[in-house]
């Protein structure tokens, strides 16, 4: 069975954004992408001390959902995420695991005191979703500036990246899929 990417939209996204994301993910990963009706309790991950949501705690919730053995599940949230050692994260994923999470909170221009840009926001969100799902397929950070797997610690870096893998990461991803099919006979 080919893997399926399940998306939990907890932002929620506009119809235009949702369709664009589903389309992009299908194009890039070449697998089925479905909107899931599974839920996560965002408030449970709220940290009063930091006034942010614990990304790892939300990831743990995702892992409790039942999905196919090779499937991936990603939650999209609008709240500000952190992991305990870092001040913030755009998202988090399990390397070669099933779950990932992405926050749109710091992707919006208004967060930086600028006028909102719907298209730019969507592009950033799509790139971060592809990046985190890439990790679940075993891809690590890439050195190519324009590769979507390049590590980004601020939004301007996300803007430099393209919405696709570089040749090397594309090969690695394809290898992963081939190995998956081989193991399934």
């Amino acid at each position: 069975m080919p893997p399926v990417i399940h998306i939990i939209d907890a932002i929620p996204l506009s119809t235009r954004d949702r369709e664009s994301i589903l389309h992009s993910l299908h194009q890039i990963f070449g697998v089925s992408v479905v909107l899931s009706n599974k839920q996560i309790d965002i408030q449970k991950a709220f940290d009063t001390g930091r006034n942010q949501h614990n990304s790892t705690a939300l990831l743990s919730q995702l892992l409790r959902h039942e999905i196919g053995k090779t499937d991936k599940i990603i939650a999209l949230v609008g709240v500000d995420l952190f992991i305990p050692i870092l001040t913030y994260v755009f998202g988090e994923a399990q390397l070669s695991g099933p779950a990932a999470i992405v926050s749109s909170h710091r992707l919006a221009n208004r967060f930086y005191g600028m006028e909102d840009d719907v298209i730019l926001h969507r592009e950033r969100l799509e790139k971060e979703i592809v990046h985190e799902i890439g990790h679940t397929f075993g891809l690590k950070h890439c050195r190519q500036f324009e590769c979507v797997m390049r590590s980004s610690t601020y939004v301007e870096e996300i803007d430099v990246k393209h919405l696709h893998f570089c040749a090397e990461c594309r090969t690695l991803f394809q290898q992963f899929i081939n190995d998956l099919y081989d193991s399934q006979g």
Partner: protein, 447 residues
């Protein structure tokens, strides 16, 4: 993808270890983690870690205490302290203790990313620097001691054995055997190689000056001491002190030197300040020190302190197989320096070199080849290019009258210079008329 650099996270909080591990794994690093000092030290024994993120506050042994232990295991590891509450005191304490940097929890991801990148760069530069230094050391090693005889192979083995220790070494051998080169080889193969080797020729200096040379002096310590001056002992701190001709040190300085070698502390001449130094001692002598001890001119306690590991360099006449190896080496050395294309010795010249007994040892051989390269012509060095002749006819008699020795010497010089009167007179340091007179007096004729 990035090269596989490695990071060890030492923090008692599991959530910190897990989140940093995940963060760095996504960046392609090899990541390890330890919850306490004991686990950290075990992991450090198992493999090398380039960067170590170390929590300052941990139960049991804290980060500040653990840091020197880590440095003992791996002095090249770069340590970044993690602290929950940044304070100037903590930062100063960490950096004074030799940390690369420190970060405050929670860490800005962009800052962490740059910090790690910089640390890896620094670490790579350090290793590159070390590699280059080792390469340079290899080059210079190749340029120094030459020899293929069993005796010299044994000397090389002894150099390797003693170099890695911090033992005092005594090098013994006749004048010109290359004792200083051996001392330098021991130093450059030791852990002190990136610190200086300071040579002091004890035989060349009167006692008072030797004392000042070794210990330095304070301003006004004696007439003419207008400025404070550091002594060789201070300059050798961290490195090696090479005492050449140690058998020539006077009794007072012997006593002072013994005290310094034992305590590694001294004061400058005319000063009270106690100066601590860390150096290794290598000494050399061509004297019979045992005889000097028996005669009471060399302190027995200093003798035993210096003569811990003894290396005897055999004279060249006792290792004939090295003569041509050395000659070949000097031929290439001076050929390059003079831009001459003389690459070999003629079979006759080789015979002459091997038969000679080389009282001046390697130094004399080097001088002989240098001279031969000046007067010789391509393609090879011939016997007449050498500064001596060993043919039966012209061999210098062991005994005989002054006149007969003068005659033989004049013949040798004339033959070496193809009976060129001007050049021969110059070498004999007499004028041409005197040389003509002597040729006439001894009835010499050009063959």
């Amino acid at each position: 993808m990035k090269e596989q650099s490695s990071i060890l996270i030492i923090d008692d909080e599991r959530v910190v270890r897990d989140s940093l591990t995940k963060w760095f794994e996504e960046d392609g690093y090899i990541v390890g983690s330890a919850a306490n000092a004991a686990d950290a030290l075990r992991l450090l024994q198992e493999q090398k870690w380039q960067i170590i993120l170390l929590d300052i506050r941990m139960p049991g042994m804290d980060g500040i205490e653990l840091q020197p232990r880590i440095k003992q295991v791996d002095p090249s590891a770069l340590i970044i302290f993690i602290t929950a509450h940044a304070s100037v005191d903590t930062a100063v304490q960490a950096l004074k203790a030799g940390a690369f940097d420190y970060v405050t929890k929670p860490i800005d991801p962009d800052y962490l990313s740059h910090l790690i990148t910089n640390a890896i760069k620094q670490r790579n530069l350090q290793s590159e620097n070390l590699k280059l230094k080792e390469q340079v050391a290899e080059f210079s090693k190749a340029d120094e001691i030459v020899g293929d005889s069993p005796q010299m192979k044994k000397v090389f083995e002894m150099i390797n054995t003693v170099a890695v220790t911090d033992t005092t070494a005594m090098i013994r051998g006749e004048s010109g055997t290359g004792k200083e080169l051996i001392a330098r080889a021991i130093h450059s193969n030791s852990g002190r190689r990136y610190f200086p080797i300071i040579t002091i020729n004890c035989g060349a200096l009167p006692e008072g000056i030797l004392e000042s040379e070794l210990f330095g002096h304070e301003r006004g310590a004696f007439t003419g001491a207008q400025y404070r001056r550091k002594g060789k002992l201070e300059l050798a701190d961290g490195g090696t002190l090479f005492l050449d001709e140690v058998g020539n040190i006077g009794m007072k300085t012997q006593m002072d030197l013994l005290r310094v070698i034992e305590t590694k502390q001294f004061s400058r001449v005319g000063g009270n300040e106690i100066i601590s130094v860390d150096f290794r001692v290598i000494c050399a002598t061509n004297k019979d020190l045992e005889e000097a001890v028996r005669a009471g001119t060399f302190r027995e306690d200093l003798y035993y302190r210096l003569n811990v590991f003894s290396i005897n360099i055999p004279p060249l006449r006792e290792r004939k197989s090295d003569i041509l190896v050395l000659a070949d080496y000097f031929l290439k050395k001076y050929g390059q320096a003079m831009g001459k294309t003389i690459e070999t010795l003629s079979p006759e010249a080789k015979d002459v070199l091997v038969q000679y007994n080389w009282p001046g040892n390697v130094r004399e051989l080097e001088n002989a080849i240098e001279r031969a390269m000046v007067v010789g012509k391509p393609p090879c060095i011939r016997p007449q290019d050498l500064p001596f002749q060993l043919s039966e006819k012209n061999a210098m008699p062991v005994s005989g009258s002054l006149a007969s020795m003068e005659k033989i010497h004049i013949v040798n010089v004339l033959e070496q210079n193809n009976w060129n009167i001007s050049r021969s007179a110059e070498i004999l340091q007499i004028d041409r008329v005197t040389l003509y007179n002597k040729i006439q007096k001894f009835g010499l004729k050009k063959p």
